[in-house]
Amino acid sequence: MSIEDRVRAATRARADLVRDIRPLTLPGDLLFSDDRAERAGRLRGARQVRAWVIPLAVAAVVVALALTLVAVRHAAAPPQEPVPAAPSAVLAKIPRYYAVITQDHSTQDFTIVDDRTGAKVVDFAAPGNDTLDSVSASADDRTFILTSSTKVNQDTTRWTVRKIRLFPHPGLAFNEAAIAVQDTDNAVHLNAFLSPGGREVAVEFDRLTGPTTVTTTIQTYHATQSSSSGPLRTWTASAHGAAPIGDLSWHGNDQTLVFSTPDAAVSGDRPPAYNRERALTTTAPSGDLMAASRVIFSGPSSLHAFSGPYSPDAVSCAALHITPDGQTAICGTRTGVDVPDARPGCTAGASLVAYPVRSGQRERVLFAYPPCETGNVVPLWTDTTGSTVVSEFPGKSTRTVLRVVSGGKLYSLPLPASPRDGTGDGNGIAF
């Protein structure tokens, strides 16, 4: 019996025990607008003055009380400053164009935004019955990779990888080319990344290969491949209960891929923290991913918010990125999204933290959100040294925002109205 069958059987058995429930009791004194008019009519007459003076007096007292409380609150706590828009000097340091998947109910769009102006320079709906899954950006600030999936039938999901090249000159906004990928049917996720030189595409996907096993496959292809001649290389890794790798990206040249792996110290039924970074040379023979790669950074051992007192030295990285110079690891912390936020008094909010690769010790906090402001901070792009970082922050109680930290200051970036949010995996926005 599969795990789905077991879950169905058990939950249906439990649900079948629910047979009788108490009746709904609706309160009779709710003041809908029509009811209010009706009640007001009934009160006209000898008691008319009393009918409106008393509520007015009560309202005046409430307003006075509210104003007093607001004044006291403002006196006790400094007002929250709105995050300023990134000035041109900061915008000049980051890529000009970024791609984002937007979603309004069941409608999805692929959009490329000019962050200097906030204008959408490319915007098209998901073709056919496709579900847009992920976007990535290349180093040239002009080329993006979009992946999507289609349910062919009940048992088969088929994946498509498209390369979208932006032409800023008038008359031709972009062109699109499919990259033929193989053996990806029924993958749970699929991400693809163009190498900095534009020669190769790395494709990463997960499959459930056993009741407890997730297998991740990385394939490399020629970026111009339009027919199914097969991948150049293929590596696989498996883990129980969670994907064995995360945060795949190219690093430095067309021959190195880096990715994060779970902190070995994490176990149990909670989401793992991907606090280690490994490097894979793409000329290595196909085979076992872990054997073909090497650890280049071991971050702090994670400590989930639920499992003990907060410690700034023990964090759980929602996403981890190595800067292009290879010297610094940028960790976006994860709090309060997949796990309950049980830190007494909310000692700290989500943050971006930098660690020197060599020592693995915390070097500096690039930015920390206010206490109790929790969510996944996902670094999307960093400059060579990590002094300017673009990140996505889908907060637990707020809509997704784009932020850039530069020179220790936080700025906002324009973002379309309905970014696909809530994932906290950074797959829906790419710089």
Partner: protein
Amino acid sequence: MKPPTEALPQGLDVTQQVTALYQTHSLGLVKLAVLMVGDQPTAEDIVQEAFLGLYRRWRALRDADRALGYLRSSVLNGCRAIHRTRYRRQAIVLDPPTDMASAEEEAVLAEAHREVLAALRQLPDRQREAVVLRHILDMTEAQAAETMGVSQGTVKSATSRGLANLARLLNQKGAR
């Protein structure tokens, strides 16, 4: 269990419409909440609150046909709030609470079913919701995404991770 999809009865006042909705859908929603929170009294409270909320906000509901979607989302929000409250309470007790089953559940449900339900309750909220909506209510990814207020990609990943976690928890239990 299928997600309820019937349209609202027409020509009734607000109280009658909400009551009609309650008569049609409350049982299914209580079953959903029971799977989320584990006990029926709490589940009934959550569903009652959801219907009261709907009653209060009826005029603000732009599309009455969306009432059911509103109710489902309200029930899920109520379940999340219960989990948060329980978690805070757990943080101040000396002994962690055991996974308690009701007397009826204890008496009627097979041991194997109780293990699955206990494992389901150990999942993070989002994974539990995705598994229940997709595999128990048989919702599509789009329906589940709208109910949970997340993207279809999130539903997809939460479902697969939830199932993998369930399988691992059950295997661990089996190994012990």
